[in-house]
């Protein structure tokens, strides 16, 4: 199959990859761009392990043809934050047990980030709904909810601190 050049803005960086038209975004990320944080857990778009933000909206990269998202803004788990500048969502999942084996975690964090970006103060029901396209086999979800709550409190603290011009306090 003839490869074509596809331009994607991955985690804020312009990237150019030569891929076949049948290349899935998940495979392009993992194999062509070396971004293995997004995972494959199923083969029928039912688990959410592969979720990434496409123009800010959480979507399944396992059913997205990479070429169809030419010039789109794509955020993967690697783009949420690095080890020394964790996003509050990442910090929440690390601190509160939301990540056990960690395999579904990138997808859950992407869904969480999208939720909190749109709705900074979700109810428990809204949290369950927003995460209902993702499956986790380890946690029983309770510590995932704690992780989301940690993240939203941390975000609140950061914006309060930003408003008052002080550095963000540590939540825990």
């Amino acid at each position: 199959m003839n490869k074509g050049i596809v331009h994607l803005r991955i985690n804020g960086e312009e990237r150019e990859i030569a891929i076949a038209p049948n290349r899935l975004l998940l495979d392009a990320l993992r194999e062509d761009l070396g971004l293995t944080g997004s995972k494959r857990g199923c083969d029928d778009s039912s688990c959410g392990c592969c979720a990434v933000l496409i123009n800010g909206v959480p979507m399944l990269s396992c059913v997205a043809l990479a070429a169809s998202y030419e010039n789109c803004d794509i955020t993967t788990v690697e783009g949420l934050g690095g080890p020394s500048d964790l996003d509050p969502v990442q910090e929440g999942y690390a601190e509160m047990g939301g990540a056990q084996c960690g395999y579904c975690t990138p997808g859950f964090m992407i869904a969480t980030k999208a939720l909190l970006d749109r709705n900074p103060n979700p109810t428990m029901e809204e949290i369950r709904e927003a995460l209902s396209g993702n499956l986790c086999r380890c946690t029983g979800y309770m510590q995932i909810y704690e992780s989301v709550k940690y993240a939203l409190e941390k975000r609140r603290a950061i914006s309060a601190a930003a408003a008052s011009g002080v550095r963000a306090p540590v939540v825990r």
């Binding site: 049948n22 029928d44 039912s46 959480p58 043809l65 169809s68 396209g133």
Partner: protein, 333 residues
């Protein structure tokens, strides 16, 4: 689970899309959100040489309402877009209630209304991997000549498994179909062929561009009840949609009941409207309509849930949905 080799064409206009479909005809498939098409391609249920990706057809992504033209939802409007259009929930509650049950939020962010109206029919002997089907020797719908649901039969019973279609049926929707020879509007009820193997009246060079609901349906009460195992992700095992106009004295002025996932097509319940119009709520009437529903719904063993149970549920859900909408959103007993 690699994908077949195909080219992807990205038309910028509906006309261009139609020209592409006309040119590539039988070897082309339309893709929008990909949530149905890509897994099916990975299972090698289809091997198109060309995918016409209509995601970029902005003209098809709109949701609009006018008192004259009624509701128009473009084929590429995402399911999330439908859910997050607040006036839709007010004016067409049966539709919002149905779309809210489709898969999960990630899938709804990608999946489109057009895609949901054109879903492949589903059967547990069909929606399986290439290896799995090879080991079976295929089925009537694909690679074989035996129906494993109704052995001996020559009819494919794969079930219609979309949630939005029964809601649109209950709202008397029409769809617009485009091709190089022009656009045509057909009632949605005529779109579905009730044949698991050949589900919709859409030729390979045609494109479903939008769905229309008459303006008079605005404000009509409605609800969709869905049988599923998980409260997200799952396709329906049975679905009942009710849309109804009730006057101030509690008399039904117009009503439709539609079913999903129990036949190869989403179907309107025969005779339901006639039974309901001019009547006041009674449980006995609701039971009669529910009984009519199970005359229309003919579930077979296309999914893990038993046909007997799904029939039972169609009956209960029909009665409950009627009660709920008649009593204006009050919870059913």
């Amino acid at each position: 689970m690699s994908l077949p080799a195909f080219r992807v064409l990205q038309p910028r206009t509906v006309d261009e899309a139609c020209r592409m479909l006309a040119e590539h005809g039988a070897e082309a498939m339309v893709i929008a959100g990909g949530t149905d098409v890509i897994p099916n391609l990975q299972m090698k249920l289809f091997a198109p040489h060309v995918l016409v990706d209509i995601k970029l057809l902005r003209e098809l992504s709109q949701i609009e309402f006018s008192p004259r033209g009624g509701l128009r939802i473009g084929a590429t409007a995402s399911l999330t877009h439908v859910l997050e259009t607040p006036w839709l929930a007010e004016e067409f509650p049966v539709l919002s209630s149905a779309v809210a049950t489709i898969a999960g939020p990630l899938q709804r962010n990608m999946g489109t209304i057009g895609g949901n109206l054109c879903l492949e029919t589903r059967c547990r002997w069909y929606n399986q991997s290439y290896f799995w089907r090879q080991s079976l020797g295929g089925c009537l719908k694909k690679e074989g000549d035996v129906c494993h649901v109704a052995p001996g039969g020559k009819f494919c019973w794969a079930a219609w498994s979309g949630d939005s279609a029964p809601a649109f049926l209950a709202l008397e929707a029409e769809i617009e179909i485009a091709s190089v020879s022009g656009a045509r509007r057909v009632p949605l009820r005529d779109f579905y062929k009730n044949d698991g193997k050949d589900r919709i009246s859409l030729t390979r060079n045609e494109l479903l561009t939008s769905v229309h609901v008459p303006a008079r349906m605005a404000g009509r009460r409605g609800v969709y009840h869905k049988l599923r195992v998980r409260d997200s992700i799952d396709y329906p095992l049975a679905g009942v949609a009710v849309a109804m106009e009730v006057d101030a004295s509690g008399i039904c002025r117009d009503a439709r009941v539609a079913l999903s996932a129990v036949n190869p097509a989403p179907l309107l319940v025969r005779g339901a409207g006639e039974m309901l119009v001019g009547q006041k709520w009674s449980r006995e009437l609701a039971e009669r309509v529910a009984h009519a529903a199970i005359q229309t719904g003919k579930p077979l063993t296309t999914s893990a849930s038993t046909p007997i149970y799904r029939r039972d549920i169609v009956r209960v859900f029909t009665r409950r949905a009627l009660e709920e909408v008649w009593k204006n959103g009050q919870a059913s007993s």
